[in-house]
């Protein structure tokens, strides 16, 4: 049981956290033909845009209501109206997804009311889906923005169904957390399809941000789940939610359509993958295909080969709650010692992280803890690179953003195959570090007057 504490510093240094509105826009990016719109000043959009582009190495549609100082004080109705009209006329989107930001929330713009007025005034917008989510910057974090936005998309776009109507037993709704990559989603899609199920991913960032090359230029998202498909999600037999952050969206789906849900807090690791595969088998009524029986064996073998390297490692990890919980638990189960954990926002999974204390803080906190507790493996998004360099310990990039390495969109951590890949990556990182930086010298074991240094074993 971990105690969750908040750092009480006035100055956040080397932030781990990204802001809530861009987490919301990220969710909209998984919808086809979408144009996410941030209601705020230009910079709110431009920083988010740069971040997404650097992470995915893709063109990313993201617009702004370009609030000026005067507009902010007087209220942003005209800006929202103009932005929607401009986007509608120029890019012909299938949906516009609007998130508020700190500055327009401070003013208190009632965007839902704006949208109603705009629809009245411009009948051509009648059929254009407009989804608004309140996501002030001064509260919560990236993951929360995603969570609220997916839940809101369900509330607005999923058609209510007659609870007595028959359901399509081959259809499942999949609500992935924002810690999954396009590569993870594709892996999950294959798994569901191998069991004869037809999954609808909401959001489906694999459709839009997997790097495929579209046939022609599209100013909106180039793929993802369509508004029409979202509307029919109520007909599915099950909803599969991945990550505790998706409970809200799964509950919204259940409330609206009666579709029951199963929540998987983790998909990384042998036992969580077993639970997941067994569950999919149960839902589909089909036996587990031989392919997964083999993959399970391969993962078991990978664990055997890698436990020599990962076992006993003192891990410092900084990540959003669901990613932190998933990866740290898997490594704990591989024998690593979870020694420092920092996260961005509150979550029910945090108290189950296998460490005494989880800090809601920044990368400065993580670096200090890693230093005093002599951690020898650091995991965080790319911003941890400075800390890792100063600490001179191996550094594995996980989470968003990953702007200084290629392939962020295809990093795989789910299922037997994903866990196997992650384990190999980490073990190889540790081996490389030992070869490069930890070679013994004749002085390594010189006799001193101090007692022998013992690394205390992991408390069980």
């Amino acid at each position: 049981m971990a105690i969750v504490t908040s750092s009480n510093k006035a100055c956040s240094s080397n932030p781990l956290k990204m802001s809530q509105p861009i987490g919301g826009s990220f969710a909209f990016l998984g919808l086809r033909g979408a144009m996410p719109l941030l209601h705020g000043s230009q910079g709110c959009t431009s920083f988010g845009l740069t971040l997404f582009v650097r992470h995915f190495k893709e063109a990313v549609p993201l617009q702004t209501t370009a609030m000026s100082e005067v507009a902010t004080v007087l209220g942003g109705y005209e800006n929202v109206e103009q932005a929607i009209l401009n986007i509608y006329n120029r890019t012909k989107p299938e949906i516009i997804g609007i998130n508020s930001t700190g500055v327009t929330e401070t003013k208190g713009d009632d965007v839902e009311a704006f949208i109603r007025l705009i629809r009245q005034k411009h009948p051509q917008l009648e059929k254009l889906p407009l989804v608004y989510v309140s996501t002030p910057d001064f509260k919560d974090a990236f993951q929360d923005g995603w969570e609220k936005t997916v839940a809101r998309v369900i509330e607005v776009l999923v058609d209510p169904v007659d609870a007595a109507a028959p359901r399509d037993l081959s259809r499942v709704n999949v609500l992935p957390g924002c810690h999954l990559t396009p590569g993870d989603l594709d892996e999950l899609r294959t798994i569901f399809e191998d069991f004869g199920l037809r999954p609808s991913f909401l959001p489906d960032i694999a459709g839009s941000l997997d790097g495929h090359i579209p046939d022609e230029f599209t100013p909106t998202t180039i793929g993802g789940i369509g508004v029409d498909e979202i509307a029919t999600m109520g007909q599915a037999a099950w909803t599969i939610a991945i990550g505790a952050q998706m409970r809200r969206a799964a509950e919204a789906m259940q409330a609206r359509t009666g579709v029951p849900f199963r929540l998987f807090e983790r998909l990384c690791g042998l036992v969580p993958s077993d639970v997941f595969i067994a569950s999919v088998s149960e839902i589909s009524g089909k036996p587990v295909p031989p392919k997964y029986r083999r993959e399970r064996g391969q993962l078991a073998d990978a664990m055997l080969d890698a436990h020599f390297h990962i076992g006993g490692r003192k891990l410092a990890i900084g990540a959003e709650p669901d990613l932190l919980f998933d990866i740290s638990s898997m490594l704990y189960e591989m024998g690593a010692q979870l020694t420092a954990a920092v996260t961005t926002t509150a979550s029910p999974v945090l108290e189950r992280v296998r460490i005494g204390e989880v800090i809601i803080g920044d990368l400065e906190d993580l670096e200090e803890l890693a230093k005093t507790r002599e951690c020898d493996l650091l995991i965080s998004h790319s911003h941890g690179r400075q800390a890792a360099a100063r600490l001179n310990i191996p550094f594995y990039r996980a989470g968003f953003p990953m702007f200084d390495r290629l392939g962020a969109g295809h990093q795989l951590t789910v299922g037997y195959r994903g866990t196997r890949e992650l384990i190999f990556d980490l073990a190889n990182l540790i081996i490389t570090d030992r070869e490069d930086n930890r070679q013994p010298t004749p002085d390594t074991w010189r006799i001193t007057d101090n007692g022998l240094h013992v690394v205390p074993p992991r408390p069980n």
């Binding site: 006035a10 100055c11 956040s12 240094s13 080397n14 932030p15 956290k17 990204m18 802001s19 509105p21 719109l37 705020g40 000043s41 230009q42 910079g43 709110c44 959009t45 431009s46 920083f47 988010g48 740069t50 971040l51 582009v53 650097r54 893709e58 063109a59 617009q63 702004t64 209501t65 370009a66 000026s68 100082e69 507009a71 902010t72 004080v73 005209e78 929202v80 103009q82 932005a83 929607i84 401009n86 120029r90 700190g102 500055v103 401070t106 003013k107 002030p136 910057d137 001064f138 509260k139 974090a141 090359i213 579209p214 022609e216 230029f217 100013p219 031989p290 911003h383 400075q386 702007f403």
Partner: protein
């Protein structure tokens, strides 16, 4: 005490701006940046611009007062290089919470300043204002004033909240903060007749170090660089320089022109991109220094250096000329880079099919016209769609632009090169232009383009796969015709799975009759001791093909 809006008006009234001189008083009041259009805007805010202009100061802590978005989403995203402290790369923000928005964030800001001083002991702190605290009325000027007094070191307010305007305006407001609080506050240990300032040079990818050795050789000292690899103490005494060069033509003109006004430091607009510009800039620096009292022999030495370096660069570029013959370039970038790069590319024998002039001044445009002739294809504003079409129709062999349009080019399978701030190569001076040419050559002649432009096999409309497949079967049939019947029987009896232990016929039986669906079942039924992977797949297929019978059997 001047208000932010008064400062902005002051910036708009910039006397040394050529465009401004031609404007009416009313137009001038409106400012020099285009009105932002909701839903159709791209580019950063004023805070972004301020941060760009000042963040390269290396020994300073940059503290952003605002909610997490402003700093959390943007830190460590620029490639300026430092020869000393790495403090500038650390990120500091007050990460304002809802409670600060309600009760005001000034106390939190003050505490944050104290924390930074206690932990990192910086020579100064720049405090950046953002939209939310500006809106609720946090007075960062006052907090900084008190903090400066209590902490005994300069705490500088940079009042450029995002919503006051564009990036460009933000850079100018950052310049105003330097003029008001930093420049002229310290004295240098010594001065020489060869001291210059560089204004608007950010040392991206360390590119200024491609030029600095030339200045060192000539004995010219960069007293202060605003702000690439800059130090707080250097800027504070930059008012003692003899001359200044303004490197990035638009963003910090107010600093150059006010330093001229206040301290009599003459300045010129120049660039180190391209051979010709590098030479002109070196000559201009020498000329100005001589005018202000440096010995005249400086010019002779400068000419010698210029001649030597030009010859080296030209010789290096000569090599590429035959490879670039007939190659067309589309140049999409802003301001000063348009014409300075145009000249360099032309020198290498590349044909420029278009250059964007969105951020260029009239003077920039004149220079482009001079270089490219009257048929110069100047593009005012290129939408991504137009850019895409242009490249798709192969109107250009390579595009040079900033990161934002990168994927438009790459997705058309057109070579592309980054020449803006996020790039990782240094292109300054004589060395840099040769590097740029090398990079263009690498991009143009990379073997991937031919492969990527080939259609996928299934996209080839002329091929009928069915016909191909039948043709293959025919060939096989002709060969084995005499024994056709026997072959078929053999095929069935043979272990068709390439796994020695399973017989296709028996397996089929097992699947149909007994409803065996898994390998284990089949292995058991057929008494095969071991089953290979290929068999598993074949069985899976077979199982799928026999749904009714298996179900029946199962029942």
């Amino acid at each position: 005490m001047t208000s932010l809006s008064a400062t902005i008006q002051g910036v708009f009234n910039e006397a040394n701006c050529v465009e401004n001189a031609n404007k009416s008083a009313a137009a001038r009041k409106k400012g020099c940046t285009k009105q932002l259009q909701p839903g159709g805007a791209a580019g950063g805010c004023a805070f972004d611009g301020a941060k760009i202009a000042l963040q390269p100061f290396t020994d300073v802590a940059h503290l952003v007062h605002g909610p997490i978005a402003c700093e959390g989403n943007s830190w460590d995203n620029r490639g300026s290089a430092s020869s000393g402290s790495d403090l500038w790369r650390r990120s500091f923000t007050t990460d304002m919470q809802e409670i600060d928005v309600v009760f005001g964030g000034e106390k939190r800001l003050y505490k944050a300043i104290r924390e930074i001083i206690r932990k990192y002991d910086p020579s100064a702190i720049f405090v950046y204002q953002t939209c939310v605290p500006a809106m609720i009325g946090d007075d960062i000027d006052a907090v900084c004033k008190i903090a400066t007094a209590k902490c005994g070191r300069p705490i500088i307010p940079v009042n450029a909240p995002g919503f006051v305007g564009s990036k460009n305006l933000g850079s100018k407001l950052a310049g105003e903060a330097l003029l008001r609080y930093v420049i002229g506050t310290q004295e240098p240990d010594y001065t020489t007749p060869y001291d210059i300032n560089l204004i608007g040079e950010y040392n991206l990818s360390g590119e200024f170090w491609q030029v600095k050795p030339l200045l060192d050789e000539l004995g010219i000292r960069v007293l202060s660089c605003i702000s690439g690899d800059g130090r707080y103490g250097d800027v504070a005494c930059s008012h003692r320089a003899r001359a200044a060069m303004m490197v990035c033509s638009k963003s910090l003109i107010n600093v150059a022109s006010k330093m001229k006004e206040r301290y009599g430091i003459p300045f010129f607009e120049g660039s180190f991109y391209g051979i010709q510009d590098s030479s002109e800039s070196l000559r201009e620096i020498a000329r100005m220094l001589i005018e202000r009292g440096a010995p005249a022999e400086l010019m002779e030495r400068t000419e010698l250096t210029v001649a030597r370096e030009e010859a080296k660069a030209r010789a290096a570029i000569e090599f590429f000329k035959p490879r670039f013959a007939g190659k067309k370039v589309l140049l999409v970038t802003g301001g000063v880079k348009s014409w300075s790069v145009v000249a360099a590319l032309q020198e290498a024998g590349l044909e420029i099919v278009g250059t964007s002039v969105k951020k260029s001044t009239m003077k920039d445009k004149e220079r482009i016209q001079k270089l490219m002739g009257h048929d110069a294809h100047m593009i005012e504003d290129l939408t991504p769609r137009e850019m895409y079409t242009m490249l798709k129709e192969a109107k250009a062999d390579i595009m040079l632009s900033g990161g934002k349009s990168q994927f438009v080019a790459l997705k058309t399978a057109t070579p592309w090169l980054d020449i803006n701030q996020e790039r990782c190569h240094a292109y300054m001076g004589y060395l840099g232009i040769v590097k740029l040419i090398e990079e263009i050559d690498k991009a143009l002649y990379n073997p991937i383009w031919d492969q990527l432009r080939k259609p996928a096999p299934w996209d080839d409309a002329d091929v009928s796969w069915k016909a191909k497949s039948l043709a293959q079967v025919d060939v096989a049939t002709v060969d084995i015709d005499p024994n056709l019947g026997r072959v078929e029987k053999d095929r069935c009896a043979k272990s068709a799975f390439r796994c020695q232990n399973l017989d296709l016929g028996v397996t089929k039986e097992s699947v149909v009759a007994l409803g065996s669906t898994t390998v284990d079942d089949i292995a058991q039924h057929t008494e095969a001791p071991d089953v290979c992977g290929a068999s598993e797949r074949a069985i899976a297929d077979m199982t799928a093909a026999q749904p009714t019978s298996t179900q029946q059997a199962a029942e």
